[in-house]
């Protein structure tokens, strides 16, 4: 029996006086028990959050997985830098693009980022069946879902807020009004936050439905872009018929236009709905807010349900 292959190693030196040990004997110090701290659930949850957040940008993973997020990150930031450059050189009185507006305009890029990152956060664990290993540890289902959700939301927030930060720094360099810009930037960050949390929920709920990463990517792009394009087209048609309230109601039908409407009403922005300025009515505004909250809570509940069966 080939058992205990190392058991003989200490014998090699046993007969010799100390200090005269055999030169190339590897001393097996044997198994050591761990007596140190066990930090429990909260720590594990935080670690999972960190690992997932870093993973979204390919940090701690292979060089190959860093390429896409970094390129997208650059694509997201460069236009902001150009806007800043234009503002500074033309000595404009205000930014050509608002903080909120920038996020809405750059939606396709953010969409690609989300579509690439959400499946990597959850599908790989499902596909390679790592999930049971998580659930065989102190963390609970809600910890896993919560950590993944928070990590993706944070990743999207970093992605969007960085360009807002570039715009803000640029605005200060261009010596625009400090008070106005700071307020705009703060509201812009709130807009980024709402956008991130909402989109993270939707993307994760879709991604967790399939262990196949490719399907996940395609499905998320579809969910984020097809309704948005449809809404835009329908809004344009309705607007040409002078049916103003319908434009607002239609905006509820896609995550992108939902955030657009929200920020125009609550975050002091301008929506990019076709047909121009008429603002959302009070009823519409509350519908927007309610739907956003429902979507966030709903996708979280859906994720919890999804993992009820996935453990072991």
């Amino acid at each position: 029996m080939p058992s205990e292959p190392h058991a003989g190693t200490p014998v090699a030196t046993a007969g010799k006086p100390p200090g005269q040990r055999g030169e190339d004997v590897i001393h097996n110090i044997g198994y050591r028990n761990y007596e140190g701290a066990r930090l429990g659930r909260r720590y594990a949850r935080t670690s999972l959050f960190q690992q997932s957040l870093r993973g979204a940008y390919g940090l701690g993973r292979s060089a190959k997985s860093k390429v896409l997020p970094m390129i997208l990150f650059a694509v997201m930031c460069v236009p902001a830098a150009i806007v800043v450059a234009v503002t500074v050189f033309t000595k404009a009185k205000e930014m050509p693009v608002g903080y909120n507006e920038y996020v809405i305009i750059m939606q396709p890029v953010i969409g690609v980022f989300i579509a690439a990152m959400a499946p990597q956060a959850v599908s790989l664990d499902l596909r390679f069946r790592v999930v049971p290993l998580y659930f065989s540890r102190p963390i609970e289902r809600s910890d896993y879902v919560g950590a993944k959700y928070a990590a993706l939301a944070a990743a999207i927030f970093v992605f969007t807020a960085t360009s807002a930060l570039i715009l803000y720094v640029g605005a200060l360099l261009a010596k625009l009004d400090f008070g106005d810009e700071t307020k705009g930037f703060a509201l812009g960050l709130v807009c980024c936050l709402v956008f991130s949390v909402l989109h993270a929920g939707i993307a994760l709920a879709v991604a967790a439905a399939t262990p196949r990463r490719g399907f996940g990517v395609a499905a998320i792009i579809a969910v984020l872009t097809i309704p948005y394009m449809l809404v835009n087209a329908l809004q344009a048609i309705v607007a040409s018929q002078d049916n103003d309230p319908a434009v607002g109601w239609l905006g509820l039908a896609s995550p992108g236009s939902l955030v657009d409407g929200l920020q125009s009403k609550f975050l002091d922005g301008k929506h990019s709905f076709p047909g121009g300025p008429p603002d959302l009515t009070g009823a519409q505004a509350s519908a927007y807010a309610l739907l956003t909250v429902l979507l966030i809570a709903g996708t979280y509940a859906l994720l919890l349900r999804r993992y009820r069966k996935a453990g072991l």
């Binding site: 029996m1 080939p2 058992s3 205990e4 292959p5 044997g30 198994y31 050591r32 028990n33 761990y34 140190g36 701290a37 066990r38 930090l39 429990g40 659930r41 720590y43 594990a44 670690s47 999972l48 690992q51 701690g60 993973r61 292979s62 997985s65 790989l124 664990d125 390679f128 069946r129 790592v130 049971p132 290993l133 998580y134 659930f135 065989s136 540890r137 102190p138 963390i139 609970e140 453990g311 072991l312």
Partner: protein
């Protein structure tokens, strides 16, 4: 270590566990059952991940229904299936899993290096796991179950998919987990034969009910049977039959199950080895007859045989103390000694 009290688990269509009551003591315990016998369900309940329909259990003195999180902090689990992402290295993966168990980062790094070394992974631990062999993957899976220095590990079919050599190494490693690391082990398998070499105790479940729980020595006592295969010679055209007659004459009980029509067993002779001298008798008889000994091994038990012995009753009392004391490794050693050219010990199923 584990106390299970009339544990019942019913799913809408099937009863996975049916009033199972069994106590598991420190040491290496084998949990044997056919596919669908309820092994995985039992592990799920013991980890506090699935509520029992009736009854209850405690693991390390903690109640599975209420203290699942505390249990999982002190218990390691190695799943049966693949669970390793291919694009990260073993080190990164095990460090991450150690942190998931609550170990601070530096401790997680140290423990990972230690544990991977103990399971026998060296330079390859820095490479992505996608390129690992099955044996290496099994080692990583074991390492992630041990990295937080649990009091108890639950190993689900750890030898699955391994070749005979890898299987022996894994079994030796499992033995060391208890003897060297001081960690108790509950290991499941559907092969009783491999568990009897590793385990102190064996628990057999079938259809969710306890079939048998006893120390491994009791199991070997109940089936002290030798499988002998010999060649035919000119002097003895039917060597098997000649040997059978000679052994019966020498006072041993020997049957050729091939006569009963079992396929592939045509040249096998089953000899009841009531004590150690039976090995010598067989060897001497073969030499006297001038036959070639192809193999002589302690019959490897398959789960089905336990069911047979249990239903067939009586068989468990056949052996005496001396036979029980015969270590399981002896026949395998004979085998290698006598027939090095055949590599007869290879049929490890």
């Amino acid at each position: 270590m584990i106390a299970i009290e009339s544990l019942t688990k019913r799913y809408p269509r099937v009863t996975a566990l049916d009033r199972l009551t069994v106590g598991i003591t420190p040491g290496v315990t084998g949990l044997v059952g056919a596919n669908g016998a309820g092994k995985s369900t039992l592990i799920k309940i013991l980890l506090g991940l699935s509520p029992a329909t009736e009854g209850g259990a405690t693991v390390l003195g903690l109640d599975v229904a209420r203290e699942g999180s505390a249990i999982r902090e002190r218990v390691g689990y190695m799943p049966e299936h693949d669970c390793l992402p291919p694009d990260v290295s073993a080190t990164e993966f095990v460090v991450h899993m150690a942190r998931m168990s609550g170990l601070p980062f530096t401790a997680a790094r140290e423990r990972t290096a230690d544990t991977l070394r103990h399971v026998g992974l060296y330079e390859e631990r820095y490479r992505p796991m996608g390129g690992y062999s099955t044996g290496m993957k099994q080692r990583v899976k074991l390492a992630q179950a041990l990295v937080h220095d649990p009091k108890l590990v639950l190993l689900d079919e750890p030898t699955n998919g391994l070749d005979p050599v890898g299987r022996d190494e894994m079994l030796a490693l499992i033995r060391r987990v208890h003897t060297d690391f001081g960690i108790s082990v509950l290991v499941t398998s559907h092969l009783l034969g491999e568990l009897e070499r590793t385990c102190d105790h064996v628990v057999v479940i079938d259809g969710g009910r306890l079939l048998r729980a006893s120390s491994t020595a009791d199991f070997t006592k109940s089936t002290p049977s030798l499988a002998v295969e010999v060649t035919d010679t000119d002097a003895h055209p039917d060597g098997t039959e000649a040997l059978r007659a000679a052994l019966v004459a020498a006072g041993l009980s020997a049957q050729a199950p091939g006569a009963a029509g079992a396929p592939g067993a045509g040249h096998l002779l089953m000899v009841d080895a009531t004590d150690e001298s039976a090995y010598d008798t067989v060897r001497d008889t073969v030499i006297e007859l001038g036959l070639g000994l192809v193999r002589m091994e302690q019959r490897r038990h398959h789960i089905a045989e336990v069911f047979h012995t249990d239903s067939g009753a009586g068989a468990s009392d056949a052996g005496d103390g001396a036979a029980a004391a015969a270590p399981a490794g002896v026949p395998a050693a004979h085998d290698r000694e006598l027939q090095p050219q055949k590599g007869g010990s290879g049929d490890a199923v």
